[in-house]
Subunit: 432 residues, 2 copies
């Protein structure tokens, strides 16, 4: 039986692009891909910045230096964008969608900033826009939110969506390293950039939680800033305290419903109970934990980065787009429900862990405890460590408003007996 | 804008059926469901054995006692079968498919036995046959294998797909209970049947691994018997030994490729390293761990049973079937690739843990070790416990053929110094 051909153009031949082209051209996968795509997938061009540079696995005949021409008038059914960056990727994707070419992208920054606008453009021109690889690498969480969980009311989504920070925190937990040593090892092993800020300060995770929230709660993907705390203030002492208390520290991307009309999205390091499934997410792995009203707690886990794994997520999207092309249909983008109000970070409440270094004198604990009390933060437990003239006090609070906790910490910093304030980390409650 | 109506008939109003009908009739979900289904979903009938029995949440006007009439000539687009059992479910599903009605079922036993035949029937009549809820309850693993991983070459699938046995083993691990006490608690809490054999002897998990293998490796779903070991021989001692050695014991459903042309499918309790993601699957939760050639290790986790969670999986399938109805298309069933040869269980190799009770006399270890050696089973480590005239020897082997291990155990049983042979459990290697 003759099957139709779906023509694919690729922009970008880095780790992901090269791995993808290798998958698409692998003769041992041809039958399985044709079966899954209901079409023969033909790679017609691979656009790169420097077409003179040799690309192992990418046939020279396919390489072009003109990405704009490919997007604007290449004879293609599906455009794959795995080059990254806001520009020119955004314009290229827009050009392709405007002429009805379906787009598959791994571009989290672009989707977080312009996702809804581009999805509407795709819909208006009868095309698909898929971006599974933008969150969680190989972990197929976005398709699950779009399909399997489309009928479910989701209460909370918690992601470990940044492999760099999870690697660093895992090294601090299992290897006993301090933050700087763990970061250095991550850099050495290629898990962290020379300038690690996008990862360790939570910018990468923030883009991803915006995308997760859009699918879980129908929020619009437009240029938004959310509450974001990184991991650079987490010390070996905190990791150690957490372990003794039955927790591990993870950088979490959290989107959560509050009552009927409230929604929060934030990124912060938190203490996760050791028997929570998220505590078992080691090294550079990613995971997304979804709490559904009826489905209960669900978790997806897998490699969050890497050329091959990310390419498999892109490939899954290409197969979807190809099937739709053959059936002459496209997926309708998710419903935007912007009735959910953003709950200001200060209004959110959590259990907190706080540690401070104090002068070891009579009356210090009373002064510190009085400060907590004045801001309505109730203490669940306290532990003192250290000897001599210096002591470290580690508190775990009951549920407290973030604004009250911030005011507490601000006042503690003014106390004469307090030398320094260490970590102030949230403690999440048990999952499954 | 007027949207089409998709008419749904339901067979079965037990835990799952009642929860499903409640979801479909919930007015607060109506908009989200219409958006996801691209149609208005109308429940037209709910067939039950005893229509006089009150069913909370199921309007009496919808209840009928005639499932056959609903399947054979009800005015429906989608038939949902959540009654279970091979008969009459099989005939009812067949009747619906023959007239082009799409079918959504949670019936693992039926799908394991007749899945391919029924999928072909569906395809021939332009209908869909979906059965996400048959494996892993709320865990949307089957759709992921059909879609996200359709282009991936899978090496191994390991499932914890039976909540009853996972609850029992978790109780033995965390609560220090022995098998009988843990089973009794599972029965008391409704996690195990009065006759627990289908669960504890691995029959339930065997049906599920057949279904997983069909999607991961293209095997045909026909009536097949596979290698199956239950958990009733696992003792508190084994759980304890495993914990000290850095493992937890789990009942695993394993489907695995061997080279280019080999495939094995089996169910057995095994020692899982504590840092493996499957070790973090606690209580009645289910999980499926997939090792892809390029995607790497992926895991799905969630509640494996319960009316609400299972109903959400059924609902996801109904939404897929409804969207396809509206688009006047259906999903093509997975490709059957029966070139994979079943590797006989005896040919498989694994690391094993074996424990035996022996008379504590000089020369016993030499006799025992000689038996292992005669059957080419090499020993990785040995530990002796117990005092006085009795001793327990616990061995961990290197990789050994199952047939060799079986021969070793058979000969050990004949040794005069061996009082009894306890567990013989596989040890799986680390994952992520």
């Amino acid at each position: 039986m003759a099957i139709p051909t779906v023509r694919v153009g690729v922009i970008g031949a880095g780790n992901v692009g090269a791995a993808l082209v290798a998958l698409l051209l692998d003769p041992t996968r041809r039958v399985a891909l044709e079966d899954a795509a209901t079409a023969s997938l033909e790679v017609v061009a691979v656009a790169v910045n420097d077409p003179t540079k040799p690309r192992p696995g990418v046939p020279a005949a396919l390489v072009t230096g003109d990405a704009a021409a490919l997007a604007q008038h290449g004879d293609i059914d599906v455009l794959v964008e795995v080059a990254g960056g806001l520009a020119p990727a955004g314009d290229l994707i827009e050009a392709a969608l405007r002429r009805g070419v379906s787009v598959v992208t791994a571009n989290k920054a672009l989707m977080a900033q312009r996702g809804t606008e581009l999805a509407r453009l795709a819909h208006a021109h009868g095309a698909d826009l898929f971006y599974e690889a933008a969150v969680g690498g190989a972990v197929p969480i976005l398709r699950a939110l779009r399909t399997s969980l489309a009928g479910e009311r989701i209460e909370r989504v918690i992601g470990i969506v940044n492999g760099t920070t999870n690697f660093i925190l895992s090294k601090m937990t299992d290897g006993g390293l301090d933050y700087d040593a763990a970061l250095a090892e991550a850099q050495e092993r290629g898990f962290a950039e020379a300038d690690p800020r996008a990862d360790v300060e939570g910018f990468d995770a923030a883009a991803k939680v915006l995308i997760l929230a859009s699918l879980a709660f129908g929020t619009e993907l437009r240029d938004e800033t959310i509450s974001r705390e990184g991991i650079s203030s987490v010390r070996a002492f905190d990791v150690d305290f957490a372990r003794k208390a039955g927790y591990v520290i993870k950088l979490l991307a959290v989107a959560q419903r509050h009552g009927e009309h409230g929604l929060s999205r934030s990124v912060y390091p938190a203490l996760v109970p050791v028997d929570h499934p998220l505590a078992a997410v080691h090294g550079a792995m990613n995971a997304v934990f979804v709490e559904g009203t009826v489905a209960g707690p669900l978790m997806w886990l897998g490699p969050g980065a890497g050329g091959g794994p990310t390419a498999t997520a892109v490939l899954g999207d290409i197969l979807d787009a190809a099937r739709n092309r053959v059936a002459q249909r496209h997926d309708v983008p998710f419903l935007v429900d912007d009735t959910l109000e953003r709950v200001p970070a200060g209004e959110l409440s959590s259990v907190y862990y706080v540690s401070l270094d104090v002068v070891d004198q009579p009356g210090v604990l009373a002064a510190v405890a009085g400060t907590f009390a004045r801001h309505h933060v109730s203490i669940q437990s306290m532990e003192q460590s250290g000897v001599g003239e210096e002591a470290r006090l580690s508190f775990v609070t009951h549920h407290a408003r973030e604004a009250d906790m911030a005011a507490t910490v601000a006042e503690l910093a003014t106390l004469e007996a307090v030398d320094s304030i260490g970590a102030r980390l949230r403690v999440i409650d048990g999952g499954a």
